[in-house]
Amino acid sequence: MTPYVPGRSPVHRCPPGAKILTLVAAGTILFAWPRLDFALAALAGAGLLYGLAAIPARLVLAQLRPLAWILAVLALVQLALDGWQAGLLVAARLAALVLLAGLVTLTTRSSDLIEALQRGLAWLRPLGANPAKVGLAIALTLRFIPVLAAITAEVREAQRARGLEGSLVALAVPVVVRMLKMSDDIAAAIDARSYDPDRADG
């Protein structure tokens, strides 16, 4: 996931809830009305907001790099099937959404983001979900994604050292086992810091 870039820009100071709602709205509109002008407008808007937030260009590219070839393939497929406008639409829409989602995490401290999601999820309470727990789970999910990638790389390397290249099951098992173990350790560390899942609102 993207790191937080400290700052005092209007984008940084905008309440996290509003940012998430904007993101949700943008996603909804772009998919409900798949129109090239909307997608391009969203892309331009995203660019503007990055400028406003003074995010270094390097980080903007970092958001898009992992998508580069998926974008290309998507655009090509659409291009072949439906013409260049469709291809451009798909690529622009994806780029805009990824950039906007990235902007939220780049400009919001995760504790603020989580608090906002927690408040936003208060309506779940009658369904038996505790928003504070949801908040912690979200924070941990975002943390685990890069850790999973790192552990996978470590395990794959250890297996290559033993002459194995590319067996999915043999790779997945130690990765999951290590993650489970790590989860147990993290749970203990959280408890040790007086986390109390039953006392809400943390």
Binding site: I20, L23, V24, A26, G27, T28, L30, F31, A32, P66, L67, I70, V73, L74, V77, L81, L94, L97, V98, L100, A101, G102, V104, T105, L117, L121, N130, K133, V134, L136, A137, I138, A139, L140, T141, L142, R143, F144, I145, V147, L148, A149, T152, L168, V169, A172, V173, V176, V177, M179, L180, K181, S183, D184, I186, A187, I190, D191, Y195, P197
Partner: protein
Amino acid sequence: MSTRDIVFVALFAALTAALGLFPPVTLPVVGVPITAQSMGPMLAGAIAGAKRGGAALALFVVLVCAGLPLMAGGRGGLGIVMGPGGGFVLMWPVAAFVIGFLVERNLKALTVWKEALILVLGGIVLTYAVGIPWIAAVARIDLAKAAIGSAWFLPGDAVKVVLAVLIARAVRRAYPTLQPR
């Protein structure tokens, strides 16, 4: 839920997101991709159990809806759920729960075949039961067409069931986390 449960929920939500790093392949007729992520509910249910597995996938879906780009190909937003693949995605938490429930139920005498059957039931039958009509509704095609188009998912999903069974069994043996119910 204990703290440990919460951490496990986060772990399997993250695992499902990480499966999205495998590139998706979009099927032309139905407009829904073949994706490694449909293994998420299978692994979550079979390793973490009904409650934690179901919650993990529910959390994953909430995060996707909130706009985080966790779906294969870096996609996110309500557009996913409202698109043709939405029915499948909304069933993932249910599938994880049902798989977890049945695995915990049968934990004492869980043969490979039984477990594969459970994964087929939750990961394919149940998921498709909502996913296919959803495609038909969203893409405005008739049900039969949606079903035939979705048949292309079957080979991939069969492979995922086999992988998930092998992984889940080895993991449970190496690091038991489930109690029989």
